[in-house]
């Protein structure tokens, strides 16, 4: 369809008018604030947004994120609120898709007037980043992508460890076990391919040697040649991640050619039930250690569990990773309290002053808030870990090594790798 000049001019005016109307509308929506010399103070409830996938195959991620945020909401509101106001939670569905995450983010910012965002995952963060950066909204996303290990965007924070940290943990665990020569077998999946560099760098830094790094195509009926090559190099340990069908063939081929004489250290994927069933629980128990994030114990985790039970009932169990969202909401709320402002720049500036040492350690929102009100520098300890952000707005561990118990079908924790251990081992 061709438009004439007058039509185009009329269209342009309509665009300008609708934009102006949108600005007025947004201003009207955002009028629950007053400005002070120290920043912008809320005059009504403070809203944080949970931006995640609530539909689709990864909907469990959003459910966990919302669940953790709602537990934090209860803890904050029972602990006195944020700057004297109640916290409300809004959420928007990214459908785990970059294209769908754009309107979801815009909707969250425009309709809910959020002061901070929890989420999304790394699947959508690239599409969301320009919007939250432009809006100057502190955003605590989750996910393991190593692309954000040296994040330089001041508005992005990640309170779940990077996959590179998992690689560090795997290398550290293996080295501590006395393995000094290692082979890497990872399948050609993008996520799996993020592991070899940090494992290699860490293992080498610790004094170990990587004898070979093999990438295999998934779904083959035989990996005997590659397996024979690995066996010939005589490594002490094999680092691995593949999908379950590939693992079945790979472990079978190792069984055939060296009776699984070389132990495996795998990623979190290797601790999944589908993977373990594919290689069988008994083989997993005898030959595989899986390394992945573990729950911390202590007052912060106890507080999370206590409030979770109050919100969801004593018989329910928190979803995996819900504690990360809980920590994200609590830390943002404390940063607002510390900044005495709900302006993005003020929240951002105050974040590490409430999460990082030095300072008085505190584990619950109320105790932290009381310390802030008393003028004490705090160091919030999260339910998921110490929550100490580095200069790239990333956090460390903790991780643990797990072994399959063939009788119960459960993973048994063997050895904990603390955040401090990981920080020291990181190249």
């Amino acid at each position: 369809m061709n438009l004439g000049r007058s039509d185009r001019r009329a269209g342009a005016w309509r665009l300008v008018a609708s934009s102006a109307a949108t600005v007025v509308l947004l201003a009207a929506c955002g009028n629950n604030t007053t400005s002070t010399s120290s920043g912008k103070l809320p005059t009504g409830p403070v809203t944080m947004g949970v931006l995640s996938c609530f539909t689709g195959s990864l909907a469990s991620l959003g459910q966990a994120m919302l669940q953790g945020s709602q537990v934090a909401q209860k803890a904050i509101n029972d602990g006195g609120g944020i700057l004297g106001q109640q916290l409300t939670i809004a959420h928007a569905d990214t459908q785990c898709d970059e294209a769908d995450s754009v309107p979801a983010t815009r909707q969250l910012l425009a309709a809910s007037n959020v002061v901070g965002i929890i989420g999304p995952e790394t699947q959508e963060i690239n599409a969301v980043t320009p919007i939250v950066t432009s809006a100057k909204i502190p955003t605590q996303f989750q996910g393991g992508s190593t692309l954000f290990d040296k994040n330089s965007n001041q508005w992005l924070w990640r309170d779940s460890p990077s996959d590179s940290q998992l690689g560090v943990a795997m290398a550290l665990y293996a080295y501590k076990k006395g393995y000094h020569n290692a082979a890497l077998i990872f399948y050609s999946d993008i996520a799996a391919q993020t592991f070899p560099p940090p494992i290699t760098a860490t293992f080498t830094k610790l004094g170990g040697k990587i004898v070979t790094n093999i990438t295999i195509a998934p779904g083959q009926t035989s990996y005997r040649t590659q397996v024979q090559q690995v066996i010939a190099l005589n490594p002490d340990v094999i680092f691995t991640q593949t999908d379950a069908p590939t693992a079945a063939v790979l472990f079978r081929n190792f069984k055939e050619l060296d009776n699984l004489a070389i132990p495996f250290v795998g990623t979190d994927v290797t601790g999944g039930d589908d993977f373990l069933k594919a290689i069988t629980y008994q083989v997993a128990h005898d030959h595989l250690i899986s390394v992945y994030g573990t729950s911390v114990t202590g007052a912060a985790a106890d507080e999370f569990n206590k409030v979770f039970a109050a919100v969801n009932g004593a018989n329910q169990q928190p979803l995996a990773n819900a504690n990360y969202a809980y920590d994200a909401v609590i830390s943002q709320a404390l940063a607002i309290d510390k900044a005495n402002s709900i302006t993005g720049a003020d929240i951002n500036a105050a974040m590490t002053s409430v999460t990082n040492p030095p300072g008085t350690k505190c584990d619950t929102y109320k105790t932290c808030l009381d310390l802030i009100k008393a003028g004490t520098k705090i160091n919030f300890e999260g339910a998921s870990g110490p929550l100490d952000f580095n200069q790239y707005h990333n956090v460390f561990g903790p991780y643990a090594a797990f072994q399959q118990d063939p009788a119960s079908g459960q993973q048994v924790q063997l050895d904990v790798l603390s955040a401090a251990d990981l920080a020291a081992a990181t190249p």
Binding site: Q228, P245, K277, A278, I279
Partner: protein, 293 residues
């Protein structure tokens, strides 16, 4: 050199499984002129049948027989219920091709309903590896290679020396002409599907034995390699397909070992593309001669 010979041995095992699947597929093609995309599911059904029977009886021989019979019955059902009627109604090969794709998805989902989508562990002890000449093979590998050779030889005899084989070749060459000469082309095609199903079902059993685990999508993944072997050797030509399967099996193993294990499939398909460009009818076809003649 030693490592290359080991790789050759591993490649022969892969090629043996592939050969059975590819020859069965090409027989199906020969009598219908349609690429049966649901061929992979015959292998999957065979694997599940073997798994169930082995669980109950503990006998690998009973499992192998069950796999072959299940494969044969499923293939016969595919022909009787879908492919045969479509051909009789004069549907184009493209339409029948799409119908078989539908059959493939239906069978996958039926298997998901009954067995779930998770992997089933099929743990038969492969035995300790032994040096057979320059090769390093387990008793299971030897069983696979020997059975593949035996079945291929039996197929050769059936197709070249029996009345049924003669009819099969006639239908393969010209269905209408075969019918005019009194051959019941539909019955021959059905019997061929049953025969191909027996072989494919058994291939599913040895594939499951070899990989140690499978799920409802297991045969579909293997079908792509099967198709590569069949097209490379000459679709519808059993001998050419056999050679194509050996070639593809060895390429997969050598490419994985010496170029990159992550690109072995890509290399196999690249070779297929070159073959199609240079010899569109396959490497081992002769316009005037059919297979086993």
């Amino acid at each position: 050199m030693h490592e290359a010979l080991l790789t050759l041995g591993f490649g022969i095992v892969t090629a043996s499984i592939l050969a059975l699947s590819a020859v069965a597929f090409t027989l199906e093609y020969a009598v219908t002129n349609v690429a049966n995309v649901s061929h992979g599911e015959i292998l999957t059904v065979g694997a599940y049948a073997a798994y169930l029977v082995h669980q109950r009886t503990g006998s690998a021989i009973a499992a192998a027989i069950a796999a072959a019979i299940a494969g044969g019955l499923v293939a016969l059902a595919m022909h009787s219920a879908v492919i045969g009627p479509f051909i009789r109604f004069g549907a184009s090969p493209t339409v029948v091709f799409i119908a078989t794709l539908g059959v493939s998805f239906v069978l996958q989902n039926v298997l998901v309903i009954f067995f779930g989508a998770a992997n089933v562990a099929y743990t038969l002890d492969p035995g300790a590896p032994q040096h057979i000449g320059p090769f390093l093979l387990t008793p299971l590998d030897i069983e696979i290679v020997v059975s593949a050779i035996a079945i291929t030889a039996a197929l050769f005899l059936i197709i070249s020396r029996t009345k049924f084989g003669k009819a099969l070749r006639a239908v393969s060459q010209n269905r209408e002409l075969a019918r005019v000469t009194g051959i019941n082309a539909t019955r021959v095609a059905g019997a061929t599907f049953f025969l191909a199903g027996l072989v494919a079902g058994y291939a599913g059993f040895i594939l499951a034995e070899s990989v140690g685990s499978f799920n409802p999508y297991f045969g579909f993944g293997f079908f792509l390699i099967t198709l590569t072997a069949a097209v490379a050797g000459g679709l519808g030509k059993a001998f050419g397909t056999l050679v194509g399967a050996v070639m593809v099996g060895l390429i997969l193993e050598f490419a994985g070992g010496y170029i990159s294990a992550s690109y072995n499939l890509a290399i196999a398909f690249a070779i297929l593309a070159v073959v199609i460009l240079v010899r569109p009818r396959g490497l081992f076809t002769n316009a005037r001669r059919t297979v086993f003649e």
